[in-house]
């Protein structure tokens, strides 16, 4: 049971980070390869606070989010003006730099990692789930506010967004900070859940994994990200029996999804009553069109 619970915990933790990235990538159109860096910052802040300074979990989690957020302001200032691949590569540079800094930092044991971090037990095992629920609500509210609409406008057409009075850099910055805070929180959760953190856990593969989940769930969909986080955290576990081949399947699955359903599970739509209604209506319209076309051929 603890194992299953563990997978759910991990999913919930991943979910928090994924939601952050979803805001940044899915809604604002900025593709970060360095989010593991923000997770690392959160994880180390959380780990140090709970282990060395004996603070309670909730203090550590909040502090982790705040510190990742603060760093993101600096990084955002430097990189948010960049476009497309340049932004990706800059964030990747950031992520790797963070990892290497922790690898060289003696206070946290460098590359050997920080062990014996106090772990969630008993009732505190609920913490990741509570945090995940809060994260979902906050992310949902954000993207459905004017700030969220501004982000989407920036994603769609920057120049027009500017002409609509949207502070493009400002909106990107809000998205960046929100996503970094969530990543930082997820990092702290991870540190306390695993009890051990090492810089190499926050390498580019981790950043990629988060991005893949966002895309798999569908860009611009909070519910997609939620489902994606749970499915893709569990999938490697389900495929465990295949050992060597499971990453082959994983890679193949990514390609097949991108090629076969590029919008991801729920690209742009939400699993809310009104969202579902919209999707069904869309379906109907398409079916009607197909019938009409078939009819047109005969005549």
């Amino acid at each position: 049971m603890e194992y299953i619970l563990g997978i759910f915990e991990l999913s919930a933790i991943n979910l928090v980070a994924v939601l952050g990235l979803s805001i940044l990538t899915g809604f604002t159109g900025l593709f970060s390869f360095g989010h593991a860096g923000f997770m690392a910052i959160g994880a180390y802040v959380g780990g140090i606070l709970t282990k060395n300074l004996h603070y309670p979990f909730w203090v550590a989690i909040i502090a982790a989010g705040l510190s990742a957020g603060l760093v993101s302001i600096v990084i955002g200032r430097l990189t948010l003006k960049l476009k497309g691949d340049y932004f990706c590569i800059a964030t990747m540079g950031f992520g790797e730099a963070v990892r290497l800094i922790f690898s060289n930092m003696n206070y946290v044991n460098g590359a050997r990692g920080l062990a014996d971090i106090p772990q969630f037990k008993g009732a505190s095992l609920a913490i990741p789930f509570v945090v995940a629920v809060i994260a979902i609500v906050v992310a949902w509210n954000l993207v459905n506010s004017r700030q969220g609409r501004n982000m989407v406008a920036v994603r769609e057409e920057e120049l027009a967004a500017q002409m609509a009075g949207i502070n493009v850099l400002g909106s990107k910055m809000v998205a960046m900070i929100a996503s970094a805070v969530l990543a930082g929180v997820a990092g702290a959760l991870m540190a306390n859940f695993i009890g051990f953190i090492a810089p190499k856990s926050f390498n580019m593969t981790k950043s990629t994994e988060l991005t893949i989940i966002v895309i798999f769930g569908g860009l611009g969909s909070i519910s997609g990200s939620v489902i994606g986080a749970f499915l893709l955290t569990a999938l490697p576990e389900l495929l465990r029996a295949f050992s060597d081949w499971r990453l082959v399947f994983y890679g193949l699955a990514v390609i097949v999804i991108m090629v076969g359903r590029p919008q991801g599970l729920l690209g742009g739509s939400e699993l809310t009553p009104s969202g579902i209604r919209k999707m069904l209506a869309d379906r109907k319209a398409k079916a009607a069109f197909a019938r009409a076309k078939a009819g047109g051929r005969e005549s």
Binding site: G84, G93, I255
Partner: protein, 292 residues
Amino acid sequence: MNLFLQQLVNGLSIGSIYALMAVGYSLVYSIMNFSNFAHGSVIMLGAYFGYYAMTLLGLPFLGGAVAAALGSAGVAIILERLAYKPLRDRRAPFLYFIITAMGASMFIDNSVIATIGPTPKMYPNVFGQGPISIGHIDIGRVDLAMFIISAVALVALILFIDHTKLGKAIQATAYNMKASALMGISPSFVIILVFGIGGGLAGIAGILYGMKYQVFPQIGAITLKSFIAAVFGGLGSLPGALLGALLLGILETFVSGYLSSQYRDLIAFTLLIAMLVIRPSGIMGKNAEDKA
């Protein structure tokens, strides 16, 4: 001074490998406008093609290089047809291409691990033993071969792009795919050509890399550095990629040599960010004002 020269040679040797990788990657970028993160896996396969051509088939080095180039070119083209073309046909945003490329990379790397296995392999020694010494500077034989082959391949490519009609077609397609179709240039053909050339260069990079170091499924990871080199030089610019690669190779070597290799990547990445902040389009990239 000797130490300095030795480090310079070390740097050029790494730089020339980065260059072969970066140019192939940059070429594809210039046409497709996305970072082909599967490029590293194609390089890795090239190393294996070359290795098996030389060990199982007993081909000489040149034969191995041709096998690697052709094999990798084939893989790159297949990848384009199966994974990227459907996206292109849908006009998917560049994010999707990048993710697909990552999926492909994961797929290829792990297929190799699952079938051939993760253990590194060593190329037979075809260039002879021991370094070539010039004064107090030692140059590895493989390094020398690599430097020469990279230089020849890259000069040939640049001449091809700048001075042939097909080269012009590639450039035009890079600028505007639909418009070049209007000029009678077949974009599919150009794309296949570009993936073929990029793949061929990747194959050569793979075999050289394998000879210099080892052959193993994670070779592709090194291409991260060539991406950085390409960004340094200006994405999409071939001379830029070349310059960026050599500079990065030398820079890294000097950081390792005069500071410590543990700061090498840290400095490389910090410099990358600094470069992007100061000159977002790299050394040779164009930076025109957006026309509204």
